[in-house]
Symmetry: C2
Subunit: 432 residues, 2 copies
Amino acid sequence: MKVGVLGCGNVGAPLVSLIEQQRDSIRARTGINLEVKAVAVRTLSRERTVEIDASLLTTDSHGLVTDPEVDLVVETIGGIEPARELILEALKASKPVVTANKELLANFGPELFAAADGSGVDLLFEAAVGGGIPIIRPLRESLAAENITRVMGIVNGTTNFILTRMSEEGLDYADALAEAQSLGYAERDPTADVEGYDAGAKAAIIATIAFGGRVVAGDVYHEGISGITEVDIEFADRLGFAIKLLAIAERFDDGSVAVRVHPAMVPHTHPLASVRDSFNAVFIEGEAVGELMFYGRGAGGYPTASAVLGDVVDAAANLVKGTHASIGSFGRCDLRSLDDLTSAFYVNLNVEDSPGVLAAVAGAFGRHGVSIHSMEQVSLADSAAGTAKLIFITHQAREADLRVTLGEIRQLETVSSVGSVLRVIGAEGQQR
Amino acid sequence: MKVGVLGCGNVGAPLVSLIEQQRDSIRARTGINLEVKAVAVRTLSRERTVEIDASLLTTDSHGLVTDPEVDLVVETIGGIEPARELILEALKASKPVVTANKELLANFGPELFAAADGSGVDLLFEAAVGGGIPIIRPLRESLAAENITRVMGIVNGTTNFILTRMSEEGLDYADALAEAQSLGYAERDPTADVEGYDAGAKAAIIATIAFGGRVVAGDVYHEGISGITEVDIEFADRLGFAIKLLAIAERFDDGSVAVRVHPAMVPHTHPLASVRDSFNAVFIEGEAVGELMFYGRGAGGYPTASAVLGDVVDAAANLVKGTHASIGSFGRCDLRSLDDLTSAFYVNLNVEDSPGVLAAVAGAFGRHGVSIHSMEQVSLADSAAGTAKLIFITHQAREADLRVTLGEIRQLETVSSVGSVLRVIGAEGQQR
């Protein structure tokens, strides 16, 4: 079974090395003898973290894909093009493809799935969400008979690392981000991670697979973590919550689906609250199965390469048997607007320390039917004289109502600014 | 696709109902139309939790298995016989079998796997370990290319419920057990759960699948939780640990394997420590993938039936394609004796409150090369005058050395008794 690998970077290089290491044990378990036929790279001379036999390297990606000796193609280049074109070329030639390319799948997944089904070969992508954690296969296979109602994931390790450092070491956002950058967890331009774009792409893939309807990255509402302050984290902790950036895909009773990424307050007793550092986890709620969680390394060369290699073994076994795992076809999802979702909210306001302010703010909440669960005035050591902080937790309220309420609160003379607004993941998930 | 179900109890009855509920969505996703052809029961007249069409019921199990109209057999009877005989009969007739029978698999698994491979059909058993949690499939498929070094599981919900109640509510063991019994989590005779037999059977199955070598229930060392006291739980908590009943399967560099079940001290920061109530979780360490954890409902009719139905859909799809998931053949494992394992230990001694006692005890540790990491004398409000409690945490030590040490300590005149001895799961798992 000859494998062609596109790309030899963070995932491609460890994959080549892992195939070498695991060849004997894979053959013993499955009878399949994997061999890397060629590795397509941009430049032959570049230094690599893992030593690769120079005779395997080629700069001709199209030649690799169409080489009749290559039975199976692994794409580790990332990005939309040329990855998309190369994958379609391989599928057209009836070669199974394994990829970890979340950006591509979140934008062109169903097109690629259809091409794979049309050629009767596998397109597998376990590593695209949650790195080394098996998520896609359990969703597609183990839970094939399950009515999944909600999936909530910590699917971006960079932001989880930053939030963990803020929570456990009391760092502010900027210092935690700087630490993540110095450790190589965050890019120099961290936007894709900290503003929720990366998590949004993964959420689109999760929703597509969990609910069987087409959801693309552009359908996903996203908010990032750059506005989270130490006060929010401390206050959440005192109330019994951790702040996590969650990717949430939900299906409602009417069949509509909502997919979003935003920071949320998660009760300390919830399994997602204990996911620390750069670890990822995906929490699944199903009607019969109840609650499930899958936890592990969501990124990193070897964990990701391990998931890719699991897919390679599977696709190779299917190719030998002349079968493939059909992903099914995907109609468009009926997407529910964020405005129509409900949630409890944490609202942090910077106000004048004057007697009328609470009445004015409470009036705005009341006029839009947002009822208050609790309110606390917080005194900060470093507050300017005459200012205070009001922290509200609301009962379940519609997003649209809260938005209008906040608009009105911003207009109040006694309110200097609206700080963080966070959704609260209640105990409802715990008690199903 | 006509399904014959053996047994209509805690799992069988919800399964029949779930097949009914999910038929349309399964057909839409996979093209497979599942129909329950017959349900074999002991007595036709018994009352059932789920209403079952009376015309499906039969008392003729062998007739159900050999009925040419039955394409696929689900075994939910439990126990060794007649489950074993019926499964072999179905496999011989080239019918795929799905079972959740841990006792049978932990004793005759490889014999049954061989029969399935011989007939070229599936024998699937996702629900045998961890109820609704996908564990077997990820181990067999997603991690097919992974060198797994250790699996640690909380695989018995009853004992985890008892330990959670002891820890969170300060109950003693007897009261927590009584509560578990009143809620239906524990049997009237709780031995199989609290003494680790149930977890031992699951550990044998996990080890067999994770390491590809035959391990049976009788190979598994087990200790239960009935000796755990409130003092142990309080003291563990103060030191930063939770006490959990763990099933541990390890493979060492020389290829030998050790499989055991015992209570252990798990650091609060470890993902297993936050698994509460009757939830289960399986924590996997692999060379490339790092750490993974799978969490969910380890028991209960609907969660278990959901996992069984996932297997049914998979086996049905394979039957249609004329393929099957080979489990592989299993040689005997080279089992490492418990004596040769090393661990840090928590040792709780009831002693005379006299000046020489520590020297005597420390001497016994020292003579057998067990070095002490920390020692604390604990004063209990209800201690008899002139008595004290010494709590030791050792460095890594061989089990055999600790055993000899404890034997010697028991002989000391100043020691009235040896209380709990618990293995400490160190931070080593966290840092890989």
